[in-house]
């Protein structure tokens, strides 16, 4: 059989290259060329609002300004990192908890999981509008409930920096905890039963079982979840754009929002290019770190 399979491989012939042609040429045109274009642009002064900035080469000026003169740069990057860290860790914690509850001997698991899926399937734009609707300071339903349960708020939740940041964090957790839950649950359910039986007979309590047996078994899954969620938390734009637009002040001005502002509000495309390049670099670094700190092979192995 192996020899035939070899034969199959062999007879792939030119096809095995040919089959890559569409994807690679396509990706070349829609990702590599734009990417090179961005790199090129980041060394130029190019603006649609300031006359005379028509693409002159200015060397590293954009980067110098980014790193030295722009407080918003560091602010937005650190805010993004904090947001990513907090949202992913909260989601992971909650997700594991809920997955464990679902993994108990209960009926109706399917119904529960089906209902859990809803938040992450709704378009992020709609999620943003939906929460904006419910958080309306005078008339929103959530405000009504908060008042009913005795929380008196001086102002709306999106009115001050801290509460606004916590609110977008909450909305992200609301939307993506189900994702973590479903993956961990899938992992828990596909685990071998024997070690658990053995542990139970040995008298371990359920916490011990979870931490010493289940956790190591689902570790690869956790890595994947953390990786995917981090990438997505870095990308988050729609919901926040709708909910706060980066405000109040700069309390929710995450990287993607500020990048949008430079490019499509200031129309400073050269500077904007250097910014988005940096943003991409940071995503690469963070995900690479995650890759290497955890076991890279679990993800890449076939």
């Amino acid at each position: 059989m192996i020899s035939i399979f070899k034969g199959l491989r062999g007879r792939g012939g030119n096809l095995r290259y040919l089959f890559h042609v569409p994807t690679l040429s396509f990706l070349f045109f829609i990702t590599l060329i734009p990417f090179l274009y961005v790199i090129n642009l980041s060394f130029r002064s190019y603006s649609f609002s300031i006359p005379g900035m028509t693409g002159q080469f200015i060397g590293l000026e954009n980067f110098r300004r980014l790193l030295n003169e722009d407080p918003m740069f560091w602010h937005s990057i650190s805010l993004t990192l904090v947001f990513t860290f907090l949202s992913v860790s909260i989601e992971l914690g909650l997700g594991m908890g809920i997955a464990n509850l679902l993994n108990q001997d209960i009926r109706g698991r399917r119904i529960f999981t089906t209902l859990f899926m809803i938040p992450m399937m709704i378009s992020p734009i709609v999620v943003g509008l939906l929460w904006k609707f419910m958080l309306n300071p005078e008339l929103g339903i959530l405000m009504f409930f908060l008042k009913k349960f005795g929380f008196t708020l001086k102002e709306g939740l999106l009115s001050s920096g801290k509460t606004a940041f916590l609110t977008i964090l909450f909305v992200d957790v609301w939307g993506w905890t189900p994702f973590v839950t479903l993956i961990i649950l899938a992992g828990l359910q596909s685990m071998p039963k024997d070690p658990f039986e053995a542990a139970r007979i040995a008298g371990a309590n359920s916490l011990q079982i979870f931490f010493y047996i289940a956790l190591p078994l689902i570790k690869p899954l956790i890595i994947i979840v953390v990786l995917l969620r981090s990438i997505d938390a870095f990308r988050v734009f729609d919901t926040i754009y709708i909910l706060t637009g980066g405000g109040p002040g700069s309390a929710t001005e995450l990287g993607s929002i500020y990048g949008f502002r430079i490019n499509f509000k200031f129309w400073d495309m050269g500077y904007g290019a250097s910014y988005v390049l940096f943003l991409f670099l940071i995503v690469l670094i963070v995900t690479d770190l995650l890759f290497f700190f955890t076991q890279r092979k679990t993800y890449m192995s076939r």
Binding site: I4, F5, L8, R9, R11, R16, Y17, F19, H20, P22, T23, L24, F26, L27, I30, T31, I33, P34, Y37, L41, I98, L101, I106, T114, I118, P119, M121, I122, S123, P124, I125, V126, L129, L130, F133, M134, F144, W174, P178, L182, I183, A186, L221, I224, L228, I231, R235, F237, D238, G255, G259, N263, F264, M269, A273, V276, L277, V283, T287, M300
Partner: protein, 276 residues
């Protein structure tokens, strides 16, 4: 007896917690759908109106008077073509990755993933400028191509996993029968991977359907999908919450239906095939 009681208590507790969580996850959506069926006065009435006479007027006004029906069609067109094209382009590559070792295929693989890691804002800026040079701004094709930047990565990653799961014996039999590789791929492999193809297609549809930034920046009014026009109901002279919730519900319903269809493959899809 006591132990039985404790077990029961524990189970009740679990059910209560789960039900509460479920309430939390679905309440906002339910509230939106309810609001979309209310009249203007009922939407913001305090205390909230739980029982009311439902009306479809919000839907009718938004779809027909405001012309959102064309945007709905745009959403469908963009999602369908972005999916179809991604499949056509990506599936052969996924198959090649699954079947044949090739020098540097890990690099190819990783490169494909990078396209998804990049925050969309990093891709949309150069695309915007390049499109402006080749007259692709404000066109359906422009948005479709832009959506392929993330859909293609999906197709390659997930379909590779599905192809790897196919029993090799059948292909071998096919080869023995003298099928060419292309015939083999077309007549035997693809029909076998039908389930995977459908799941992948639906996932791509969902991604494309829900996408905002690319369509917002690269598209004009004639190709704007629903996600782009819905926020437009927040205007300087009033927010049309009724129509807004109506369109929000409408744009979500197909997605929910889709995701129930492929529930089995959903996790695999969402994790890029990392979890089978």
């Amino acid at each position: 007896m006591k132990q039985h009681f404790r077990a029961k208590l524990k189970l009740t507790l679990i059910y209560t917690v789960l039900c509460l969580i479920c309430l939390g996850t679905i309440f906002p959506y339910v509230w939106m759908v309810m609001s979309s069926l209310k009249t203007r006065l009922d939407i913001f009435s305090i205390p909230p109106a739980w029982i009311f006479k439902p009306t479809l007027s919000n839907y009718i006004i938004a779809l027909f008077e405001k012309g959102f029906i064309t945007n709905f069609l745009n959403t469908v067109i963009i999602a369908c073509f972005a999916t179809l094209l991604s499949l056509i382009v990506g599936v052969p590559s996924a198959y090649a990755l699954a079947r044949w070792r090739l020098f540097g295929d890990h690099q190819v693989f990783f490169y494909v993933l990078t396209t998804r890691m990049a925050p969309p804002i990093t891709i949309v800026v150069p695309l915007y400028l390049l499109y402006s040079k080749v007259f692709l701004l404000n066109t359906h094709i422009g948005i479709i191509i832009a959506h392929m930047t993330f859909n293609l990565a999906y197709v390659v990653w997930i379909m590779r996993g599905f192809f790897e799961m196919l029993p090799k014996e059948i292909e071998e039999a096919g080869l023995v029968d003298g099928c060419g590789n292309i015939r083999l791929f077309w007549y035997i492999v693809l029909p076998l991977a039908r389930g995977g193809l459908i799941a992948t297609a639906i996932l791509c549809m969902i991604m494309s359907w829900n996408e905002f930034l690319f369509a917002f920046i690269l598209g004009g009014i004639k190709c704007a999908p629903l996600t782009v026009v819905i926020p437009g109901l927040v205007t300087t002279y009033g927010t049309f919450w009724g129509q807004l919730t109506a369109m929000g519900s409408l744009v979500t319903i197909p997605i929910l239906v889709f995701s129930f269809i492929i529930q089995k493959h959903l996790i695999r899809g969402l994790t890029f095939g990392a979890i089978k």
